[in-house]
């Protein structure tokens, strides 16, 4: 078990390094000289040279990369090329907002998705099951920002149940915080709920058709006890989808935040990519991938706990 944990952890760190380097070089190749973006087209050649020297862009790419990654390893993401503020400070301000929305959405997906999945798995072909199927078809494909536009018009503008835009920090008011992230989270979560529900429902039925379930029933176990067995066997696929959803939701949040005008990483990503502020972009990448790696690591632990065969690999 210990070597299993160590292996997964190592694989996660490797992933983090590879993704960060990949993004770093992609950004360098794709953006090229950042000074026109940072200074605007009216800047003179001298101004540009000065900025290049200031941000160290005149050094070889590999030197810059080493510089970045050796500092990032200690938690120092450098300073923005635009505002010259530490990237870490900006992230500390923005990441909690995005994380609130995404974690809340993932929780919604987990709780509601699992409930719906079990209900449909127990009564396949029933009304709820057919409803889930219909919903899963549509909501799976519809982008979160589209759903959020619909939700904003409906609940915020027509019914005025929730604020249409803006973010309230939980330090200011917990209820304000909750109501400010509810709509964005729900619009992100809808697709994930049906995905998790559908996955669990299918897994449930698949396991239900397996021989050992018949044998468990033949021993006289109650329906509830048999369901526990089925659920444990069906959970790995649903958990995997949930972890994948988390990554998808992080990406989706970037657009949804703009609809709801939330001060998360969405607008920061948008603006810094447009002007070519590579340190900020790298900071964003590193932080999101760290969360992805953590979630995947958690997933591996849970899967190993659920299914003894996984542990021995």
């Amino acid at each position: 078990m210990l070597s299993f944990i160590a292996k997964r952890l190592l694989s996660g760190i490797l992933l983090l390094i590879v993704v960060c380097s990949g993004t770093f070089f992609l950004a360098f190749v794709a953006i090229g000289d950042p000074t026109p973006g940072l200074l605007g087209n009216s800047a003179t050649a001298a101004q540009r040279d000065a900025l290049r020297a200031k941000i160290g862009y005149d050094r070889p790419v590999l030197t810059q990369f080493w510089d970045w990654i050796s500092h990032a390893a200690t938690g120092d993401f450098g300073t923005s090329w635009r505002s010259f503020q530490p990237v870490g400070d900006q992230l500390a301000l923005r990441v909690p907002v995005t994380l609130s929305v995404v974690v809340f959405a993932t929780l919604l997906a987990a709780v509601i998705g699992v409930a719906v999945g079990i209900a449909c798995g127990l009564r396949p072909g029933g009304l709820l099951d057919r409803g889930l199927k219909l919903a899963s078809v549509v909501l799976f494909a519809l982008p979160g920002f589209w759903v959020s536009l619909v939700l904003v018009t409906w609940f915020a503008i027509e019914l005025r149940w929730f604020p249409a835009i803006g973010y309230v920090s939980p330090e200011v008011s917990v209820s304000g915080w909750l109501s400010s992230i509810t709509l964005p989270s729900v619009s992100l979560a809808l697709g994930a709920i049906v995905m998790v529900g559908e996955q669990l429902r299918n897994g449930f039925l698949q396991v239900n058709n397996q021989d050992f379930v018949r044998t468990l029933r033949a021993r006289g176990l109650s329906k509830r006890r048999v369901t526990t067995h089925v659920l444990r066997n069906a959970s790995p696929s649903a958990l995997t989808v949930l972890a994948l959803m988390f990554v998808g939701l992080l990406g989706g949040a970037i657009v949804v935040e703009i609809v709801f005008n939330l001060p998360g990483i969405g607008s920061l990503t948008q603006s810094s990519s447009q002007i070519g502020d590579i340190p900020v972009l790298m900071g964003l990448t590193a932080v999101t991938v760290v969360f992805v790696v953590l979630v995947n690591f958690l997933l591996d632990l849970v899967l190993g706990w659920v299914n003894p065969k996984v542990r021995e690999r």
Binding site: A27, L149, R214, L221, N233, K309
Partner: protein, 609 residues
């Protein structure tokens, strides 16, 4: 030995093409029509659009529909309908690029990874996992910023993020197919690896890839619109996402501007999603479940005294014991399944009985209905199966009219079950101890310590020498023979009066078979159970059974004492089955003695080489 008649022609079969089956689904047809309309709008946009999509008329800024502008004007004074039509062009063009890029990257990699396994698989899977861990939106924004917002490049980049979806599906399919003997057979036949990949593997992944493409196109269109909504893309190319952004900015004052592109986007994505789900249904990715009404229909048809599609209404088989002497008695049992072509009856009016201490064999070939009969007795038919009977008596009690909950209460107490496949009948996620102790505690009401002691005791009784190790093991850690002993232990630990064993030795090695039969015989005598053994093997029947029923096509053709059935089978089918066993047939040397004199040189006459 008799030679089976060889037909010179085959009976005609009706094959229905996937397209025809698709066109029978109303929802699928509607979705397909919608998609085709969108495609037509995109292709014909230059002819359909009443105005240049970028032509600005100040008069129609924020205009309501009318005056030749069917959908009104946007915030810059451009005709919304024309922009929608041209926007469809952009949308579909981008979706095609994305899907093609995803396909070209994901499918070959997935098929190769699944087929070759090993290092190829590890590397490709790691890359795929890495791609799925990358916050794609950030990278896409970087790419968009860097490439001067080149639309095709951006769509290819989006395709890269779609590739893992294709990769996973084709890898999973390829891995499943790789294990099929037909791939090995192709390699032995001299087919090269590239050719195996191109033909067999591609054919195997084709259908799921089509489904995946419909879904991917939907997601790609959504993400594309999201990017455009963020302001990516050239201002002079009309796109739905851009139009939504425009509408979003004036949402409070002029909501209709947002409405039209939202509808277009929603409807197109929904159409693709429904096409994908209909296709997935057709190639049965999502298992359809028969609903309660279908089951009721089967029940009714089975119980009906005469039905047009089920002509055979007499019962078969007989009873030899008085009802009160029976551990098990079945009268006129029918089992049916609802299928697309009506009701399929797999057991047609079977009657049999068994007394305590008696071993009854149910013999037949595949499809004879022997297993279905045993499941019906246990009330453990697979979903979709329905049984009706004039009566089923278990330990003297009529149970066929009981509710399913009351039937379930008999399981483990009055009637036990030993399955065929030992390993697939243990829950892989729990230890053996948990699986043996759980019923003892919660069905038989033993305390935790008592249940554990009893489980250990039964394990020793079924011949397991190190019960402590087995109790602590997971199913994948023990052998097949051991697992079958555990299952027998589980079945008899509740001291049932009837034990139903469904081909209990078929999946086991010959030497283990003999052990398990011996164990069943001992337990049956020790506990005085009625043992019902379902088997296709007349050797097993001769070994353990007192009486036997022979089944064919859902009916009993013969019932009798074992000695009598073997000595003088009354039905020709029984005789055929017994003679098919290879115990006493002439061996190869005897066969060749009769043949060789007539053909002096073996293999001489066919020298085509």
């Amino acid at each position: 030995m008799t030679t089976a008649p060889f037909p010179t022609t085959l009976a005609p079969v009706r094959r229905i093409s996937l397209l025809r089956r698709y066109l029978r689904r109303p929802l699928g047809v509607v979705a397909l029509v919608v998609l085709l309309l969108v495609v037509a709008a995109a292709v014909l946009a230059p002819w359909l659009a009443p105005f240049d999509p970028n032509f600005v008329t100040f008069k129609i800024v924020h205009a309501d529909p009318g005056n030749g502008h069917l959908l009104g004007g946007d915030s810059a004074g451009r005709d919304i309908l024309s922009r929608l039509l041209y926007g469809a062009r952009t949308t579909l063009y981008g979706a095609v690029i994305t899907c093609v890029a995803g396909l070209l990257l994901g499918v070959p990699a997935g098929v190769s990874a699944g087929y070759f396994g090993g290092a190829t698989d590890r590397i490709c899977s790691w890359i795929s996992d890495a791609l799925q861990s990358i916050p794609g939106m950030i990278v896409l924004l970087v790419v968009a910023a860097g490439t001067g917002q080149s639309f095709p490049v951006l769509m290819v980049a989006l395709g890269v993020f779609m590739a893992p979806g294709y990769y996973r599906i084709s890898r999973a399919r390829a891995m499943a197919v790789r294990k099929e003997p037909y791939i090995d057979a192709a390699r032995v036949a001299g087919v090269t690896n590239p050719r195996v990949l191109r033909t067999h593997m591609m054919r195997a992944v084709y259908a799921p890839i089509v489904v995946q493409t419909a879904l991917t196109a939907g997601i790609a269109i959504g993400m594309q619109a999201g990017l455009q909504f963020l302001g990516i893309g050239s201002a002079s190319t009309p796109s739905w996402g851009q139009m939504m952004n425009d509408g979003f900015n004036t949402m409070l004052t002029y909501p209709k501007i947002l409405l039209w592109p939202s509808i277009a986007l929603g409807v197109t994505i929904a159409a693709l999603a429904f096409i994908g789900s209909t296709l997935a249904d057709l190639i049965s990715i999502r298992a359809e479940q028969p609903n309660r009404r279908a089951r009721a229909r089967v029940r009714q048809a089975l119980a009906a005294p005469a039905a047009a599609d089920l002509p055979d209404r007499e019962t078969s088989g007989s009873h030899v014991h008085a009802i009160e002497d029976c551990a098990l008695r079945v009268e006129n049992l029918r089992v049916g399944y609802a299928t697309n072509n009506g009701i399929k009856e797999v057991v047609s009016g079977v009657s049999l009985d068994a007394a305590p201490g008696e071993v009854l064999g149910i013999v037949g070939e595949s499809g004879s209905g022997k297993t279905q009969t045993s499941f019906a007795v246990l009330d453990l038919l697979p979903s979709g199966g329905t049984a009706v009977a004039d009566g089923i008596w278990i330990s003297g009690r009529e149970v066929s009219k009981l509710s399913s909950a009351d039937r379930a209460a008999l399981l483990g107490r009055s009637i036990g079950y030993v399955p065929q496949e030992p390993l697939s009948n243990l829950d892989p996620c729990y230890t053996i101890e948990h699986q043996l102790v759980e019923p003892l505690r919660h069905v038989h009401g033993l305390s935790k310590a008592d249940a554990r002691a009893r489980a250990r005791e039964v394990l020793v009784r079924v011949g397991i020498t190190d019960p402590e190790r087995v109790l602590g093991s997971y199913p994948h850690q023990i052998s097949g023979g051991m697992a079958q002993r555990v299952l027998i232990a589980g079945a008899v630990s509740g001291r049932p009066s009837v034990l139903v064993a469904d081909e209990p030795t078929t999946a086991l090695d010959v030497t283990v078979q003999a052990e398990v039969l011996e164990l069943l015989r001992e337990l049956q005598q020790e506990y005085g159970m009625a043992l019902v053994i379902v088997t296709h093997n007349f050797g097993v029947v001769a070994d353990i059974c007192d009486r036997v029923v022979v089944m064919k096509d859902g009916r009993i053709v013969e019932t009798g004492l074992v000695e009598q059935i073997f000595r003088a089978p009354a039905h020709p089918y029984t005789a055929e089955l017994i003679s098919a066993s290879l115990d006493d047939v002439a061996g190869r040397d005897e066969l060749d003695q009769g043949w060789a004199p007539a053909h002096a040189v073996a293999g001489g006459e066919d020298d085509a080489r």
